[in-house]
Amino acid sequence: MSDVQANSSADAGQDTVWVQEISLIDSIPRWIAMTFVFVVFVGTWQLTTSLGLVSPIILPTPMETLKDMIFVGQNLLTGGYMLLALWITMKEVIYGFALAIAIGFSLGVLVGETAFGEKAVMPYLVAIDTMPKVAFAPLFVAWLGFGIESKVALAAFIATFPIVVGTAAGLHAADENARMLFKTMGATRMQTLIKMKLPTGLPQIFTGLKIGAVGVMAGAITGEFLGGGRGFGELIRVAASQLNTPRVFSLILYLSLVGLALYVLVQWTQRKVVFWHKERVGAHDA
């Protein structure tokens, strides 16, 4: 062990003392580490803009962005037009996610549980999944119009596939012993599915949901970019066309808060539901 050094003195009556080296970078508290990265990031940004390396039209200064964030924040808090736009986008995201969960879970069970689904449905799902799904946006607009329906459809379309894959993988997660045990107990197929395969597969299902939650946001905004409407994506598009880059930046930041909230909601639900499964993200995860 290279990071552990034994005290080699063999004097009688002396305790054996180990000198343990803990590398500095792993022992920094989380909040300090996070603040440090933030400061470096903003500092670099400030330097880039104040030294005139990049035109302010292309990249606003951090201060300008912060000012605009306060302005947008006030508009949101006082129930201004931006709140209405945000609400529209959130509706698209929520409906889209609900639709994706319903369709994705059903297809996932069909594909993961039945031989028919695996043989006849899965190949087509894989084929559709490899297509660039954003390219379907004009079709959804043509079919469903410029209202929120076309955005909901695109958002759901993008989020469905990870949920299908997560559910199908989850249903395959149960080991041979568990299957055999349920057989010996005389369990029906439905009992095996509900009482064993689905609970066993919950971690994978939630992974699919989390990927879907990220996709549903992208789908809604892309839908707004390409299909108009009155959502947050439209505000971004308008700001960008006016070269109002501080506004674009602050709108994106607020939008990311919505996306983060959705992700955290799924994560929180997972911790409550799948209480027995401890997720490990990194070696030094707290």
Binding site: D175, N177, A178, M180, L181, F182, K183, T184, M185, G186, A187, Q191, K195, M196, P199, T200, V274, F275, W276, H277
Partner: protein, 269 residues
């Protein structure tokens, strides 16, 4: 002499036949492999029978047929006078892994077979019985603990309770303690013996360990591979209850040597 009825020694239980297999053969259609030929054996009430053999001798196939998980190609498989045509509640089974479900507490895992067969209400009624069983196997106080807080030995005790909750007529044990360390394993084997005696259970154990088979069994079925068949049924006339000290006696050694000899011969073929 492919029969386990040869109970001509003292100390072994002489109950009525519980499980009878007559000329059971199994050929897997997929690759036409003959896994088992002409196996005939009888398990009597309260007896402990082990099956031992090298890999490919058909012992897992035999166990699966006895558990009602796969059908035999030929032969009769009769438990308590009724042919086995699928999984049954009078068959209890235990695997190498405890296979407890982490979203259920220990006691909920134990009543799972009742829940599956008779529904949630019946499972609730069976909770008292589950508590009794947990006390028998020394798990009192761990009723509402989730499996990831149980040690390997405790998990296997829990799965013993789950096997016993339906009061099966026969216990099929598929190397139940082979995943445990040797000390826990010896202890669990003694526990198993005690539980089987208390319940007057009829047990059938598949194992790789000759010592384990000898210390636990009334009869040991030694199997040979290609095609899987019974080579010899070895009676163990050590007195009961067995203790771990018996493993050092000359008699124990002689039986172990005899079985090892049979297994080595099997390898040559």
């Amino acid at each position: 002499m492919n029969t386990a009825l040869a109970n001509e020694y003292s100390g072994a239980p002489h109950g009525a036949p519980v499980y009878e297999l007559t000329n059971v053969s199994k050929t897997y259609a997929r690759n036409k492999v003959v896994a088992l030929t002409e196996v005939t054996l009888t398990l009597c009430k309260g007896s402990f029978t082990s099956v031992i053999g090298s890999s490919g001798c058909g012992k897992s196939t035999l166990l699966k047929i006895m558990a009602g998980l796969i059908p035999p190609t030929k032969g009769r498989v009769v438990l308590q006078g009724r042919p086995v045509t699928g999984p049954r509640r009078d068959i209890g089974m235990m695997f190498q892994q405890a296979t407890l479900f982490p979203w259920k507490t220990a006691v909920e895992n134990i009543v799972l077979p009742i829940e599956i067969r008779d529904g949630a209400a019946a499972a609730k009624k069976a909770l008292d019985k589950a508590h009794e069983l947990m006390e028998i196997v020394g798990l009192k106080g761990f009723e509402n603990v989730y499996p990831n807080e149980l040690s390997g030995g405790m998990a296997q005790r829990t799965s013993i309770c789950r096997m016993l909750i339906t009061e099966p007529a026969v216990l099929l044990l598929d190397e139940p303690f082979s995943a445990l360390d040797e000390l826990s394993r010896d202890m669990m084997n003694m526990e198993l013996q005690r539980i089987c005696r208390e319940q007057n259970a009829t047990a059938f154990l598949v194992t790789h360990s000759i010592q384990e088979a000898v210390i636990l069994s009334d009869d040991i079925i030694v199997m040979k591979p290609r095609p899987g068949r019974i080579a010899e049924v070895v009676p163990v006339d050590l007195p009961r209850p067995r203790t771990l000290d018996m493993m050092t006696t000359p008699k124990f050694g002689a039986i172990v040597d005899h079985i090892r000899g049979l297994l080595d011969k099997g390898e040559d073929m």
